[in-house]
Symmetry: C2
């Protein structure tokens, strides 16, 4: 259940005790981004400076550094530069140099070709090696001194050097003089040591190429843990040489070979990123049983689960919703050998077992064998059986030299302190784990597959609310957080467009000082980051463009993009409720492709809110009207083309509604501009209509409705 | 000089004897595309049918097939399909199947996952193997039968199967029902057996990845020869194990390892593409002499040539403009071992030596050693020395089992008939080679680096003009043609945007029947092909997008794209004349990025021509006015941003001129619409102004000027 976050729609117990007002209802209410700015206090010196335009454009990076001070002058790249690495060195740094130069080249269109002498220098000074296998909490700090003649990047170890190189790349921007970085000094280090991204490759397989692109993106924004969710009911994804029927029967031939995994781990290490595997147990493991039925708790026969979406919308299917059998010694013998093999393959010190037991807790209640076992061992309820299973697994993971990690569910009263907890339940749950001596990581609030705006994720802080009541030493157990991307509704093709750029907002939350929390600034910098991600080799913008083109053939009309720019996929999980999804369902519709958040919708809403508050500028009025006229007229142009393609036919009502919403908005704007009263009943009638027009079509909603509602709200009757 | 085609600006001798009126002045005059349609006679049955809309959209492919007949119904892909290969099989066909499914997946967003029975089938029936090393003239024909239940692709060998698979992929298009191919029968085979693309990797190195992407694009449009120009003054690009100082001293470390080359050759063979290497000699070889000075004809010391552009714009540099020394036996001993090594590395039966001797013919005239040698061997002029050199080289190439190929220059009176000729000089030269018994290939008219419109290349036919006077048997010596891309002004990054989609127009010329020559239809189908290339893995559209974004930072305003869409890089070679280019010069300006041909410029010109001819529709008038209003108003919005980036500062006058041209156009349109006379002198004054506004800025011209000129021309005074 822990990938079902939106169900937490009630105020979380105890969460009203601290933090900002919107947190307790985080996942349920639509909070206008404009209200966020009230809480924003940008206290980084450089952003507080008077030359705020210069400052922000000079620091258009994500995540923002801890300290930055502007100097005089600038380092100019256009005339060429030398790049030298001094101090400790290793092949990884040489590869980092080549990667830096390649990204530099993509960003500037200039080749690094130092054919002259006396060029300005980039000097990377590294003191010593980092750990052979990257550890939690290693030093990632760096210092940067930019002057016209030299950029000096100093770091204690290669990890800091890697972080600093990304900072340099992000700081380069074009000016009337050429590509420059203004003279400045930066002191930077992460606020949290665990800054992760979880990718679900069980439900939809993600190709090694996509994993590598994801790692490229993570490096760009200084994330340092790839949490690789490798198994689920819909697929087991890792080659096992010990138990080859795991991938042989349980993957549809979509799995990573051990060689591919080793290469990906090397690729990650090159980028200063740990790779933590997750093998789900005891539930979400039915794909294992297709090849090894003796592991399962029901009688079988087992088959791969094809259904996606909400399990509570369909009857339970015993064989596919089975869990591992905790009562047989053979299960632990199997897991012992399995963990042994995987512990060698994955060098990270953490081994994530998921720990989700939703199916188990149902099956075990009725299964006679379980009941008998529980009675024989003095267990009162199925939860005791789960505790027993987890303890056995934890022991064998420890035997193989690893620390176990699991979701909230593995936290029980006597769970060994060495088990780390990943919290999907909320800040209370996180604080509880930390308070009881467990290392803990927050994922609640960072579920990117929910299609929430970046600002939502941005303002969730692991040390908010319940953590406030913890002792300093307990709070230190909170290692950071992880953005999470479950893959019911993303494929290898579309995942990039849903990860980026929102994952960067979480990355900044976990790296930058707590008081870097101006969502306006974040959004502006996210724009630049989107382009930087392209230069770093994350092609999500291009893939989206090509996916759009597919919808209607090559001749995608401009009017189509007008519609696409104002729609959003639904937040949370209503998709599975509307339509049956399984692993075969193509994810090639507009709702699969559009960004989770409509930038134009947000921009319009903010503009409309200013107008409604009588704070709108002349330009605000002009832009709003121009937008709404476009929207009003769009359907007439677009309608005939929409009907020509099966993929766009379903957008017909949405396109019609865009016209109707725009007409209401224009009428409202007329009244506001002319300071007229609305006829009696008109306003409530329009609000009713808007409500009807808010209905999903083609699993999309119109992101401009809140803006029109804001205009209506300001009309006097 | 054979990469200096535009200098052929005089009517070519004898070329007035046949063909269409514009051919003799091919490279000099701007021919409005609209006049082309007068010569267009689409006689493919399916296009001549009454349902021309259905037909063209059903056949939106490049190149068009030889014969196609529409049936009833359609093959629907949305419900899934089976794909089976019958008859002869080999691993290459299995890889083709996987590649087909991958492209299918990108094009439709649907995964091929046959999990049901009774699905419609794609059956690929191949009779027998093709040659172990692909030969010129192998059977590439295939037949395609599309019915609702089955697509049957039949071919004599894997080459035909590969061609047919691309046809299927191109034919798939979206409709209200889903992705379909209409029922049809296609009989298809190439008109010419040699359909090539020459890529210059000497001047700017092209990465193996770019070569592979180029091969992907070639497969999509059924080109079958990669002519790999591997050496030039600016770089020697192939690892030699026998002479390692070639790449060691002559490549700036930018070269292909033998392993990379073997992999690329395999990659090409998988796609039914031959790979013919070209090693330039005796001129354009100074990069060889840096490591092996004894090969050169001057005294050295030799260094890499860094200059690009037109050699006649600068003084000759002896050491860098040197050629191979034809008088030393050691030269031939070297070449013997070298050709031996490269003949093994490159399995193709052709070995291209370039044969360009422009520098040699200058040096040899004055070099005392050459003079003495000529005198001693009874040679009268340097040309004789060149004949001697070519004959020696031809013999040793033959000894190594290969046929020699060279540009026009290698054709001399007693050149062995086994030498194949590539003609850059023109159709006469081609006919002369074929008439004297040489196999010959046309490249004149197909130089993509000249930035000519696709329609120009499209209407050049190897069998036009002089070929008409040849005997049937002589004409059979004309094997086809090769598009050519010299790389003075393209890099690995930008080359895709200049190759595609125009290379597809040449591909159609060489594959499809001669009477497939409607440029309007070609342009419409090129649009679809551009998107198909993306699905085939040629990312040129995405790269261009990212290159645009770089020009002004991430926030590229819409007004910038308005400007970018109406400019064109100059045709021919004026660039090098305006500005000194060398291999270090970044190619990151707008003129490096925009398509060679402005689609909007062409569209506007055609519209304006219809208006000028009093054949303009109401919609023509509306569109022209709307465009010109956009252009008129664009500069005011764009100007401030242009000044913020060094890369766009130079566009300021161009943007201003766009406004001025639009103002003239709008005034002309007013007069025309109101059927008014222009004041005396007004028209010629405006034409003068337009002439001034046609000047290059930032190495770009405004592609809308011909359209405005057309409007002006129709005004009565």
């Amino acid at each position: 259940m822990r990938n079902r976050q939106q169900l937490q729609c009630r105020p979380l117990s105890g969460s009203s005790g601290g933090g900002l007002h919107y947190r307790p209802i985080y996942a349920c209410l639509l909070l206008p981004a404009a209200t966020l700015s009230a809480t924003a206090q940008s206290t980084i010196p450089i952003l507080a400076a008077k030359e705020s335009y210069v400052s922000e454009s000079a620091l258009a990076m994500v995540p923002m550094p801890t300290h930055a001070t502007l100097g005089n002058g600038r380092f100019l790249f256009d005339k060429g530069f030398d790049m030298v690495f001094v101090g400790y060195t290793e092949p990884r740094l040489e590869r980092a140099r080549l990667r830096f130069l390649e990204t530099f080249s993509r960003k500037t269109g200039m080749r690094h070709w130092p054919h002259e002498t006396g060029l300005p220098q980039i000097v990377v000074a590294t003191k010593a090696a980092s750990a052979p296998v990257q550890q939690v909490g290693e030093d990632e700090s760096y210092q940067l001194e930019v002057t016209p003649a030299k950029i000096l990047l100093s770091a204690a170890n290669p990890l800091g050097a890697l972080r600093g190189l990304q900072t340099i790349l992000q700081l380069i921007h074009t000016t009337a003089e050429g590509f420059v970085i203004p003279s400045m000094t930066i002191e930077d280090k992460p606020r949290f040591p665990w800054r992760g991204l979880m990718i679900d490759t069980g439900r939809h397989f993600m190709t090694p190429e996509v994993i590598r692109q994801t790692l490229d993106g993570m490096e760009t924004v200084k994330l340092n843990v790839l949490h690789w969710h490798l198994t689920d009911d819909q697929g087991y994804r890792v080659e096992s040489k010990v138990f080859p029927r795991l991938q042989g029967k349980g993957s549809d031939d979509l799995f990573y070979t051990q060689e591919e995994i080793r290469r990906i781990i090397d690729y990650a290490r090159d980028r200063g990123i740990r790779v933590m595997p997750e093998f789900e147990m005891p539930s979400h493991a039915s794909s294992w049983f297709v090849g090894y039925p003796e592991l399962g708790d029901s009688t079988g026969p087992y088959r791969m689960k094809r259904e996606l979406g909400q399990p509570w919308d369909r009857p339970r299917i015993a064989a596919e919703d089975s869990s591992m059998d905790p009562t047989r010694e053979s299960t632990y013998a199997f897991l012992d050998r399995f963990v042994g093999e995987m512990s060698t393959l994955f060098p990270d010190s953490y081994f994530h077992i998921g720990g989700d037991a939703e199916d188990a807790l149902i099956e075990w209640k009725t299964n006679p064998r379980m009941k008998q076992y529980m009675a024989a061992h003095g267990m009162k309820e199925t939860g005791d059986l789960l505790i027993y299973f987890n303890r056995r697994v934890q022991k064998l993971i420890a035997m193989h030299g690893k620390s176990m990690m699991g979701w909230d569910e593995v936290l029980q009263s006597d769970t060994p302190k060495s088990v780390a907890i990943q919290s999907w339940r909320g800040l209370d749950s996180l604080a509880k784990a930390a308070g009881s001596g467990h290392l803990a990581v927050l994922s609640w609030g960072y579920y990117l597959d929910l299609n929430e705006p970046a600002s939502r994720h941005y303002l969730v802080d692991p040390l908010d609310q319940a953590a406030g009541a913890l002792l300093e030493t307990e709070r230190a157990n909170i290692l950071g957080g992880e953005a999470a991307m479950w893959s019911e509704y993303v494929t290898a093709e579309t995942i990039g467009g849903r990860l980026w750029p929102r994952a960067a907002a979480v990355a900044e939350r976990l790296w930058s000082p707590r008081n870097v929390n101006d969502a306006y600034s974040m959004y502006r910098r996210l724009d630049t980051t989107a382009q930087n991600l392209t230069y770093s080799g994350v092609p999500y913008l291009a893939v989206r463009q090509s996916d759009y083109a597919r919808l209607m053939g090559a001749s995608l009309p401009a009017a189509f993009m007008v519609l696409a720019s104002v729609v959003e996929p639904p937040r949370g999980y209503p998709r599975g409720g509307n339509r049956a999804y399984d692993v075969y369902t193509p994810l090639n519709r507009l709702s699969d492709i559009v960004p989770a958040e409509s930038d134009l919708g947000r921009d319009f809403r903010q503009t409309a809110q200013r107008i409604a508050a009588r704070k709108g500028s002349r330009e605000d009025l002009r832009r709003s009207r121009a937008w709404m006229i476009d929207w009003r007229d769009n359907d007439a142009v677009l309608q005939p083309s929409l009907r020509k393609s099966a993929l766009t036919m379903e957008l017909v009502p949405l396109s019609q509604n865009l016209n109707r919403v725009a007409l209401i908005g224009l009428a409202a704007l007329d009244l506001l501009e002319n300071r007229k009263l609305a006829p009696p009943g008109w306003k409530s009638e329009q609000l009713e209509t808007l409500k009807a027009l808010s209905a999903q079509h083609a699993e999309l909603t119109l992101a401009i409705i809140p803006g029109v509602e804001a205009l209506l709200s300001a009309i006097q009757t």
